[in-house]
């Protein structure tokens, strides 16, 4: 079985087209006429500029402004006097032909960028290589016209650069398969924008394909990462049905993307999304999510040997704020405990880490780390609509302490003359039963609640849902749990604050009816469930569309 990393969801049945860049040999021989070479350079620059401009416009229309930006930066490099002067010097002083002159100039700058200590700058080296490659091919007359594609092409390549994908007739491409790459590779991002499946990291796919008939029938499963070459008839039928129902579902849901909903009482209801990384935001934006109800920040702290710096965290929070400036983005402070290993934090060995020094309690114990996270969020707050949310609070004294530390951070920033949103909304997770029962007290002190049903159910029913022996007892619809949820939402409304839910229950279509009967203000769901939940809400008798 051939498989890789599922990088863009969907199914596709099509014909495999192997995209192989023809190897070009660049002659290092000196030119017989410098003036001739300079003329060729001039023509090359003109042709390259025209091509890039066309690709920029095309990409802007077909995919979007953001994806088109990369070609704008290529155009800027073409106008770079230092780059051009170096190429000219290689022609005039060294006597090389245009192709080699460009190669040398490219190598020079690529080396500078690849040695920088900044990941963003190192990635720019790829841009320089891309544009140099284009110029070299044009100067050698090697620029191939757009490939002739069948109407159901599945593009296979070792890797796909922005230039590679720009050339493709998007109407004919049904999926991508690459040998290298990750979920954040250019090809994965492109595939998600286009709404077609992509599987990356499939080692030796070009070798495998070379062994089959040209344009072999291929099936991509963008959910599991599976690839089937020359499938049997029965498999084809199965996937044809899958494609049909998936497309029908997607089409049907599309119409919910931009609508806004409210309860018949006039209270607004929104569907937001949960994210655990900046990349997760992409899916939310595509689905028209009305905000981020939970931004889990643990990824910033895990899998590394030292604490993430304030600067690093600030950049992440700023990015998210800027990408969703018109909707609330709720950032939850570090919610981690003894079940995970973090080398740079002092985490005692515990017999029961889930009832131990975790989340906010851990943050109180590692105050410096906590303050750095709060400072980073505060500094980023001026770039969008950020909210701060504290996890795992059981007692009002814990909330008070969190506020005290937050105020210290605000005072420090004020002293330093650093701007932040002074009115940044502060909320808390309701996940410890004590907080749900005493919700009325907490509602007076925060700007919003978000119910974390995953832990609320576990704590309330004393069930570890990871324990297969008792997992069947984990029931979000248990009357006691529903009672706590109802109480929490009512307490919030009585205090004129909003109440959201970010636990899994919010994403469950079977729970929509009861949650909307309680008039939950915000359903914060997994990215792929946004439209589904919106559709389900609209089915409720007490929910209607806002015109």
């Amino acid at each position: 079985m051939i498989s890789g990393i599922a990088a863009s969801s969907g199914y596709a049945i099509g014909h495999a087209i192997l995209l192989e860049k023809k190897e070009i040999t660049i002659s290092t021989e000196k030119s017989s006429s410098i003036s001739n070479e300079l003329k060729v350079l001039e023509d090359t620059i003109l042709e390259t500029t025209q091509q890039l401009q066309k690709i920029y416009e095309q990409t802007k229309v077909e995919i979007g402004e953001e994806e088109a930006m990369v070609f704008e930066s290529h155009l800027m490099m073409l106008e770079d006097p230092e780059f051009m002067n170096l190429i000219k010097k290689n022609i005039e002083d060294e006597g090389y032909q245009v192709a080699y002159a460009v190669q040398l100039a490219s190598d020079f700058f690529v080396e500078v960028f690849e040695n920088m200590d900044n990941e963003y700058m190192r990635a720019r080296a790829a841009d320089i290589k891309d544009i140099a490659d284009r110029m070299i091919r044009i100067s050698l007359g090697e620029m191939t016209d757009a490939m002739e594609l069948p109407k159901d092409a599945i593009i296979i390549a070792k890797d796909l650069t922005p230039s590679d994908t720009a050339q493709l007739d998007k109407n004919k491409v049904k999926g991508f398969i690459t040998e290298v790459g990750s979920k954040t590779s250019h090809s994965a991002i492109m595939a998600r924008s286009m709404g077609i499946p992509a599987v990356v990291g499939v080692a030796d796919i070009s070798e495998i394909l070379k062994g089959s008939k040209e344009k072999a029938l291929t099936i991509i499963n963008g959910f599991t990462g599976e690839i089937i070459i020359n499938p049997e008839q029965s498999t084809i039928k199965t996937y044809e049905d899958k494609v049909k129902s998936y497309n029908a579902e997607k089409e049907a849901l599309k119409k919910y993307k931009d609508i806004k909903l409210q309860y018949t009482t006039g209270r607004k209801v929104s569907v937001a999304g949960n994210i655990g990384s900046v990349d997760d935001l992409q899916l939310l934006l595509e689905q028209g999510a009305e905000g981020v109800g939970l931004f889990r920040t643990e990824f910033l702290f895990m899998g590394r040997n030292e604490m993430p710096s304030e600067e690093e965290q600030f950049n992440i929070y700023k990015q998210v704020a800027e990408k969703m400036p018109d909707h609330p983005v709720v950032i939850r402070t570090l919610d981690i405990g003894g079940d995970k290993v973090i080398s740079y934090m002092n985490m005692p060995k515990e017999d029961n880490p889930f009832l131990g020094l975790r989340a906010l309690r851990l943050c109180f114990s590692e105050v410096n780390l906590f303050k750095i996270q709060l400072r980073a969020i505060l500094r980023a707050s001026i770039y969008g609509n950020l909210h701060i949310m504290f996890p795992m609070i059981g007692a009002v004294s814990e909330l008070d302490k969190a506020y005290q530390i937050l105020r210290e951070c605000m005072n420090e920033l004020q002293h330093e003359g650093t701007k932040y949103d002074e009115n940044i909304p502060i909320g808390m997770m309701i996940e410890i039963p004590a907080a749900a029962i005493n919700a009325a007290e907490f509602a007076k002190k925060v700007d919003f609640f978000s119910i974390g049903t995953n832990d609320l159910v576990q704590y309330t029913l004393a069930v570890d849902r990871m324990n297969t022996e008792v997992a069947h007892l984990y029931d979000p619809f248990h009357p006691a749990v529903l009672e706590l949820i109802k109480n929490t939402i009512n307490a919030a409304h009585n205090a004129n604050i909003w109440c959201g839910m970010c636990g899994e229950m919010a994403s469950d279509v079977d729970a929509t009816k009861i949650l909307s009967s309680y008039e939950l203000d915000e359903f914060s769901v997994t990215g792929s469930a946004v439209l589904q939940i919106k559709a389900k809400l609209l089915e409720q008798t007490n929910v209607k569309q806002i015109d």
Partner: protein, 87 residues
């Protein structure tokens, strides 16, 4: 020749967007303009040159211009950088 110093205030330093805004501004002047920081220098009208300086927040950079509009060029660029390169 005219020159002046200024400190970079952008949080993420002079990455692609502010750098390209800076280069666009520099190109409006006829003078040759150099950016000097620590022991490196770059050409203000070259995006690759400006980016390779890898200027971070807090870095001090000297703008040096030679030409007809050298004074205006330096003043404009210093103000531009002081105000965050349009970010």
């Amino acid at each position: 020749m005219y020159k002046d110093k200024v400190t970079v205030i952008n949080e993420s330093g002079l990455h692609a967007r502010p750098a390209s805004m800076l280069v666009k501004l520099a190109k409006e002047f006829s003078s040759d303009i150099k950016l000097i920081s620590q022991d490196k220098n770059g050409v203000a009208k070259s995006i690759l040159s400006v980016m390779s300086l890898n200027l971070a927040k807090g870095d001090e950079v000297e703008i040096e211009a030679v030409g007809q509009d050298e004074k205006e060029a330096v003043k404009a660029l210093v103000t531009f950088i002081k105000e965050g390169c349009g970010e």
